[in-house]
Symmetry: D3
Subunit: 140 residues, 6 copies
């Protein structure tokens, strides 16, 4: 079904297998989802993407659940079914309740509506929303 | 600049003026931003949209800052400059720090990347990510 | 299949059941489609969305068929299969012919093409297309 | 400003000049907007795109104003400022009133909202919205 | 499944049949894929679209494989499964290797990420990236 | 103008300054464009994004110019002005001619058109375009 075959553990290159080992160790589960099993055809991309995701989604100024909610919201806006389902599952595993999910859906829908209204009306940005002028470094 | 003129308070219909009064009372400020001043050409849409936004963004299972972060993230994904600027300002007013904003940007970017990779590869959804089967009501 | 279960009539909260009664009375049919059956998990969102749709799609300066055609066109641009199918069905129920649908498809496709060409070339907006200057209320 | 220069009449190739003559004759005006003046760098694309637009936007099963409304709606969904401004101007020239424009904006916004809600919830398509089965020609 | 039936050869109008004959002669195969079989309900659109695609995808300043890679990349960004699958097949037929496809996927993903980061940060365009000023023809 | 200030060299953290040194060494120019100067507020994201871009855009199975063309095409589809301008400049620096750019624009436009037509018509994927069945690893 995928545009490149889904690889089983036996079909992995050594470089890809090493990334899978890290995914399993980090997530503390044997399960490795299909996204990584297809991306494994390009072990360099697999390693780069996994390490980037791990870094971006780690706790920081935003907590992990908030990051997952943002991930789900963007995946809806970008219309990626795989990502909606996998990150909804991840958000639930991090504690997202049904009520929180339904509120997320309402915010995503409302934002989409006002985004399009503002675009249709070509609303000029209020001076109050612009940051105090900094002289951009590379501009005249 | 906008596709319909930005209305001053003096140009509002009585129905639009009533909505502006509610915006001011709710937000506890005289300032009414341009989005509402253009939408005011359609007082029914103005009232409906304002009341919907107020309802959706009220505290609930998700706190108001998380909702603003989601609004900003969706506005980036939908590429609406007005909305990015107005809701970034709103998020800052609700306490978003620079570090939180930069992490939001990183999550939105990373989600966009993996969204497109999953789409390009047409990755099949793992059985583990599908909810236990319910028989959809209106399907055969 | 859906990220929240499709609810049967028996599973509805009293608030959701009241909205379903209004949908049935307004549409003069017992059939309530799955969109509302999933959204019913959030009865407040269900009521708000239904009442907004009913208001927006009512006859006004644009007739109901034209509004449905616009709805279909936007759903195609946003790539929402559910919405394409449900609003195509609604448009047919309001009289859309095969020939009208095929012309809609041609316009949507042509607009997508010239949208991207204009974006790629970053074509400057002709002075003739800008409205006579109004001084935006909230700008310097 | 544009990624390729805006061409004046004097800078056109003979092939591009012939297309401009047709644009002027068809539209009964000397004015040729910037879209064509940038696209004129590729006279073959200029001719193909102009003839396609003329064919698609001609009166048919849908009237020219309805087609312009669809064009504006799609341009909003695709977020093309040039196209929103040029086709809003075209729609006004064909009789679109302020009230009709504001209703178009409301429909586009509402469709965007429900599009994203249906996507977030992954609502299964009702059997009633699927056409009676035809055996697809190229499928097993 | 499709919103208009997939037409067999026997169901084609004479105008559509003529286009199919040209598709077969140009591609040197009896196979005509479903895209054309559904679009054939509008023989004028069928002829225009086929001739446009044939013209745009012909060898020119860019070779046919590069054009197919661009087509796949745009189809991913626009999230069109049919187009991803049909143009991936076309690209493979023109020589695209697995390694080339995986690199295309990486570029599309990376571009999506930096596109959203630049949009979120509203990065001002560097003077160095703007072309030397030309006086736009239709602007004040 | 940007949502976070554009940083001059003097304002960089040591971690960000180290990345700038690598950008300058790799590109063999003192010029560092605004994208990096805004992203520098998050030195970890700056380093990750720069190293990812450098890796993805390096010569491989696809040559650097083809990768830049793909980057431009995706940036158009995602409607990112900054990215269109910066990567068009990069593509020109790598040898893209005016004729090649205009053909790229034509392909992007044509793909957008047929993407939307295929979506509107919900064209079923031909069996010929599906890969020989592999049993997906994580599915029933």
């Amino acid at each position: 079904m995928s545009t490149m075959p889904v690889l089983s553990d036996e079909e992995l290159s050594p470089e890809a297998a090493a990334v899978f080992a890290d995914i399993r160790a980090t997530r503390k589960t044997e399960f490795v989802n299909n996204f990584w099993r297809v991306l494994a055809h390009d072990p360099v991309a697999l390693k780069r993407t996994w390490e980037s995701v791990r870094q971006v989604m780690a706790p920081g100024a935003l907590d992990p659940l908030t990051k997952e909610l943002l991930y789900v919201a963007v995946s809806v806006a970008n219309n990626c079914e795989y990502c909606i389902r996998s990150h909804t599952a991840a958000a639930r595993a991090k504690g997202m309740s049904d009520a929180q999910f339904m509120e997320l859906v309402a915010v995503v829908g409302m934002a989409a509506e006002t985004n399009r209204i503002a675009t249709a009306l070509q609303v000029p940005v209020d001076a109050a929303f612009r940051p105090a002028t900094d002289a951009p470094f590379n501009q005249v």
